[in-house]
């Protein structure tokens, strides 16, 4: 039996260096968090020797003038991990994806292909270099010994069978607890407590752990202690958990002649969708997301989307509110999307993929009021999105602020009806509506965006208004303000970039037929006047 382990220390830094190898000779630090409170997440050895370490703030790290700062990139880490898998798979079909930075390989029988273990190990290390990754490689006759050796020893290590305990002996006990996430800072409390116990016992190397008597150890640390002891002695009998590549639902078609119009493309898409839906249906799955990639002829460089293997692709994704399986609906959605976002060049290849998910239960609740079919609703929404833009659709949610008319669009969600929740924020004394009032309510019809107005003041109060966009207030002579109320003053967000302060006035102007009442706003910070709406 021969097993191998590939381990890339400081993985997130290695992932960045893989895509930007020119940064290798420079001190590099990865930052994480939201500005202005970003912190250093990981550093390379050059940065470390300059005194930069994880946990520092960006401002502290920037003291080192030669330091290069990059944001931590999940995308690059995913790519590096994929490369790691590729490298491993080029030596063995049986691999285990142990962690983002660790791959285990079953290399039994591969000596005849790649040479004796030392040559084989060097070969793996060489392959990693080709993939621009600096990793450690260890070969041993059991899986865990290879793993521990890769984590503990730099470079390439080959442990002959029978020498595991001896070779692993000098390693610190911490190698037994390397977290599966690859993030060295996350250890659970049980692990910390175990490490603490071992430290108090003076057991700091695998050798001393291996030397503890088995029964006494089990009395003190239980099965976990025994398992660690076995690991320390290189006696693990664990088998490899082979890595199964994820189930992909992808279809593609290559065209003899480039397509320019959407109609023939629809025909092709329909075919691909039928195939995909067939496959999904065979596995009792539905689609949660459709991803379309179109390879274009003479793809304009300025429009280039992130592409795999440097191919020019035009990409679109349609995220569905719930898993569905309806070819006609999918086709319609794709058509609407492409209408709104045309590819802009002739198409030479079409790739279509679906992200699978279990389908939603078919039956609703007995007392649930009838709602539109989610499929139809989604289709309608897609049409609206196509017309008004993605940021303009959804349900508006008022924000808890004194800033007038502030809201946020949130995507529609299909959910079970829930009882009305209490609002968590209680309004301030200032904002409380004072009166359960018998007074009639008036509605404000807002102008979006507000209309710019020119105001003539008398005694600090608006006396005349000129506004081109309002027929009543435009014309050659500015309209006289007949009546006014205000100002209503508000300001806020003074701790942010976009602090605001404004005075509101309600003014009455005479137009051709009647007297109209407008809401006038004076921006106290920037000085402009605006008509924000009219009262019905």
């Amino acid at each position: 039996m021969l097993f191998g382990c590939i381990y890339v220390p400081n993985f997130s830094v290695a992932a960045v260096l893989r895509s930007e190898p020119e940064l290798r000779p420079r001190p590099l630090a990865l930052i994480h968090g939201k500005p202005p409170l970003e912190k250093i997440f990981a550093v390379n050895s050059l940065a470390e020797s300059s005194g930069i370490g994880p946990g520092m703030t960006r401002a502290q790290a920037e003291i080192c003038s030669s330091l290069v700062l990059r944001p931590r990139s999940a995308l690059r880490e995913t790519a590096a991990h994929a490369a790691l898998l590729d490298a491993a798979q080029s030596f063995s079909p049986l691999i285990e994806d142990a962690a983002p930075d660790t791959i285990l390989l079953d290399l039994t029988g591969s000596e005849s292909l790649f040479g004796p273990p030392p040559v084989l190990a060097a070969g793996i290390a060489g392959r990693l270099s080709q993939f621009s990754l600096e990793g450690r490689v260890a070969l041993a006759s059991n899986l865990d010994a290879a793993l521990l050796a890769a984590r503990g020893f730099p470079g390439v290590t080959v442990i002959p069978a029978g020498q595991e305990a001896e070779r692993l002996g000098p390693l610190p006990v911490e190698v037994l607890f390397a977290p599966a996430t690859g993030d060295a800072t996350t250890k659970d409390s049980a692990t910390n407590s175990l490490l603490d116990t071992l430290d108090r016992w003076g057991v700091r190397s695998l050798r001393s752990l291996a030397a503890l008597p088995e029964i006494s150890l089990s009395e003190r640390l239980g099965q976990r202690g025994l398992s660690l002891r076995r690991l320390a002695r290189g006696l693990s009998q664990r088998t490899l958990a082979p890595f199964e590549p994820p189930v992909h639902f992808e279809e593609a078609v290559e065209l003899e002649h480039p397509i320019v119009l959407l109609e023939p493309l629809s025909f092709l898409l329909n075919r691909l969708l039928e195939q995909l839906c067939e496959r999904l249906s065979a596995r009792a799955l539905a689609a949660q997301e459709l991803r379309l990639a179109l390879e274009l002829e003479n793809f304009p460089a300025s429009n280039q989307q992130p592409a795999i293997k440097n191919q020019p692709y035009f990409r679109r994704a349609v995220r569905l509110p719930l898993p569905m399986l309806d070819t006609r609906l999918f086709l319609k959605l794709l058509q609407l999307d492409l209408n709104a976002h045309p590819p802009g060049a002739p198409i030479v290849k079409v790739f279509l993929a679906a992200d699978p998910a279990p389908p939603r239960p078919a039956q609703g609740s007995l007392f649930q009021p009838p709602a539109p079919e989610p499929e139809k609703l989604e289709l309608t929404l897609a049409r609206i999105r196509g017309l008004v833009g993605e940021q303009q659709t959804g349900s508006p949610h008022l924000l808890d602020t004194h800033r007038d008319g502030t809201f946020q669009m949130q995507p529609f969600e299909v959910s079970e009806p829930t009882p009305a929740r209490k609002t968590s924020a209680q309004p301030s004394p200032d904002s409380a509506s004072d009166i359960a009032t018998p007074f009639p309510l008036t509605a404000l019809r807002r102008f979006r965006p507000p209309l710019v107005a020119v105001i003539t003041l008398e005694n600090g109060q608006p006396a005349r208004m000129h506004c081109d966009s309002l027929p009543a207030a435009g014309g050659e002579q500015a309209c006289l303000v007949l009546w006014k109320a205000g100002p209503w003053r508000s300001s806020g967000d003074w701790w942010e970039h976009d602090a605001w302060a404004r005075d509101e006035w309600d003014i009455a102007l005479r137009n051709e037929t009647r007297i109209a009442i407008y809401r006038l706003v004076h921006d106290l910070l920037n000085g402009g006047w605006f008509v924000e709406g009219t009262y019905d």
Binding site: R200, S428, D434, I435, A436, R489, W494
Partner: protein, 1128 residues
Amino acid sequence: MPFIELHARSAFSFLEGSSLPEELVSTCAALEMPAMALLDRDGLYGMPRFHMAAQKARIKAHVGAEITCTLLSPVILSGASGSSEPFAESKDLHPRQSAGGTGFPRSARNNNTVGLPAFCLPLLVASRAGYQNLCQLITRMKLRAAKGEGCAQVQDLEEFSSGLICLTGGTDGPLAAALRTGGIDAARRQVECLMYIFGSGNVYIEVQRHFHREEVARNRAAAELATSLHLPLLATNGVCYAQPQDRELCDALTAIRHHRTLATAGRLLARNAERHLKSPRAMLALFADHPEAVSHSLELSSRLEFALNDLGYQFPRYPVPDGETMDSFLRDRTWEGFHQRYGRATRDLQTRARRQIERELALIAKLKLAGYFLIVWDLVRFCREQNILAQGRGSAANSAVCYSLGTTAVDPIGMELLFERFLSEERGEWPDIDLDLPSGDEREKVIQYVYRRYGERGAAMTANVITYRNRMAAREMGKALGFDEDMLRKISSAVATWEFRDHNDALDRRLTDAGLDLSHPRLRKYHELCVAVQDIPRHLGQHSGGMVICQGQLDAVVPLEPASMPGRVVVQWDKEDCADLGIVKVDLLGLGMMTALKDSLQLIRDHYHEEVDLAHLPADDPVVYSALQTADTVGMFQIESRAQMSSLPRLMPRRFYDIVVQVAIIRPGPIVGQMVNPFIARRQGREEVTYPHPSLEPVLARTLGVPLFQEQLLRIAMIAANFTGGEAEELRRAMGFKRSQARMQEIETKLRAGMTRNGISPQAQEQIILSITSFALYGFPESHAASFALIAYASAYLKSHYLAAFTAALLNNQPMGFYSPATIVKDAQRHGLKVLPVDVTCSDWLCTLETVPGIQCPVPSKTSAPDGHKNIALRLGLRYVRGLREEAGQVLVRERTRAPFTSIDDLARRVPELRHSDLTTLAEIGALNSVASAQWPVGRDTKINSGIATHNSQLRHRRDALWQVQRATRPAGPLLNHLDEPDSSSPLSRMSDEERLVADFRGTGLTTGPHPVAYRRAWLNAMGIRRAIDLKQIPGGRRVRIGGCVIARQRPGTAKGFLFLSLEDETGVANAIVTPDVFHQNRLLLASEKFLAIEGILQNQDNVISIRAERVQPLFITRAETTSHDFH
């Protein structure tokens, strides 16, 4: 037309206002308002400061408060009981009379207010009766609920309404609440209800305008109600801060109060910045449609007659037997005491004392203070009966009457102390008597005695207002701005500054050090908020010992509220506020050293079999003075600090008065006043004794022409500038009062004028003024120094003669003093005391003494000591085991007394209170090494006594114990749980010296083994690092290197940026002085390294050795977490 603001909150509304009362007053003065009212939330917390500031600015300070209420019953609100019937009578203009005292309609009495919104009822005080009612109302609602909660109920308002004027409030007032809930009809009923309670002439309909839309309807309704109910409209601004820009801080405090961030607080924050103090003109413009609402503020102000200087406070009378008056009773007690105190004194002293006592008694009688003296005498008598050490200090030590009564222990006649300092005919305030008591249970006993004696409403603790300082400001403002926990930790540790601050210590610099980029607008705001919130009150705490006592009801003088400690009641003012308003306080101060002295006496009794009487210690003991002269004073009261140690060998104390001087001289006052060096030079005969003016010779002769005590400065003022006793007292108050720079300047002018009249030269004037102004920083009165010197002498005596007992007592009362327990232990060991480690087979919870044959305990060479002294060792107590709860420790001791532990398993089983972590720590520090096992000692050459190892047995090592603990604390399951597992041998190796050190410091914070530096001595020698003990032999001016564990870092405010470091090694302590330049170059090293090597020039000034640091290096001695006492 003028306007007066009658509804304002200050920062004393605790997170609901952002300006201090003084800021409100100064803004009010700038706006030329003749008066103002402060209505803090549910209290009169800021009122004394408001009153004092207003008095100074010649503004009338009206008193009031906003009271949280749930006034309306549902019946009234809904009008279900029929609006015509219950309120038929309330429509009468004088409903109180017509109600015939039967009170409130029954529907409102049902107290069924659950679910109704609480609101704030603004109340203004019109008369003293009103003030007393307001205090009692607040007290009632506060004491009824938990700390920080409570609201007034209908019955309370009804009971305490007399003399109060009620406003209808702003957004959170009763009118707005009613409008919100039930519209105009409910509002009308609400106002009628208030008219019923307070009388229709005492209700004002309040209108506020903050440019809110919502206010328009409310104000319209208010005007309508005012007209229909014939009530006056009153314009106010519902002020929460003095200036518009203070709104930002107010918003931040709101976010903190609601545990939100500014970003998530949303509409909890203010809508705009209009709640500031507005000028009369602005208010008139704002209420142009209701000018009468503005003018009513003036009219109402004229109705508010009460001011805070009319409190009606009376100190309680002491009950005396029939036929006696308090004066006669006091006289008898004094003369009784006189015979004890002066019975053996010289005739001359007796005569002087008799004369002084007569004078004092006459003055006491004249000022009607006999009751006060008797009450303090009664307290001291109680202490004596309960065998509690008590000693008066403060200005009381100037009084021969106090000395005769046994209240103080210093003879004021013998020491020629100034009686005027204690009591003066001119000033209208109470004398100051502080009692030092052992801290802890015994002090609590005395406090509870006071409560018992004067009743729950007759006595209370004074408050301690907790205000925002750097660290809390940085933390809470960071939270408000949404910083994460990690960042907050980083910032709060960065803003911890030394006492001395220079431009490098400014807050912005510290924040930059923490890695914040202050050019970012959000972080710039953060910095501004941190600065703005400094000194703003955060919450109310309890003063450690100040008590106020009152004749009759204290709650009619100041509101009381529950303290967080059960059974304690606290007044809403701090002790300075109480003093300002002439409320007498008795300080019952817990002094750790008093407890230590008392514990020492008990230990001496038990182990040395001797009785030591602190009142009759041998005077001028040569061993004590020898220790003082060589600055061998670790652990001694008040004379152990680094600065004290460096002046002791220069002052060479030889008699008790030298200790009094020693205690007083190392204080910021004398240091800044440049009095220390002249005094030392004169004492050493290197400088001639001169006086600023010949007339001052009698005052300054005792201190060689250098003023060291407050009394001397007062006398100088009296002689040189013709100050009267009262004026001198005013000067003392100004010196001791922290908010008094302007006051000090006024006095300075008066002083100069007086001195010029007396022909004192300008140079001498400057010198005198410098001395006096320096004392404003903090200096001791002689009487106070003398009281402390007595305790200092006692502690020195006990340390010199009963080291083991004294050290044990000191360790049992930590934290106290200047040094950590680790340093105290090392110092005791260097003096030859055997300190034994914690051992569960013999340690008690506290440190104890053990008689161990063969151990030589040091005995002072010049005294003869019984043989029993020679074999006493100190055993560390279980209290030093980190994380171990006292309950578990006590159970362990109890179980051990019942039967010895046969194994660690036995221990774990019999003391289930011991957690796994406790047992692990005990094992790690070696405390389980002697727990025996039936199997364990076999084969290890161990002496077994019935299966139990004795002290002579071969002990297991710490890792053996750790090995057993791990098994003993794993659950064995129900079948095997009751079985006692014998200990088995462990495969673990012994701890190395380094591991033992790490374990000792981690588990107990100290080591009883060799000093960490001792293990590395050879290496340190090779580096040329000298031992502390060897420095004496090196002549001054040589370059040397010292190294050791940093035990103290100090950067005093008086030392111009110098840092003083103390490095301890196995032979003693070496001191280094770091100049500001070297400090800034090595800031991080000096602030954080545990072991340092310092190279510099050795200075030896009169046997005071220090190294002037030039280079600083970190030393790696051990990983052990040693501690340093840093003075931030």
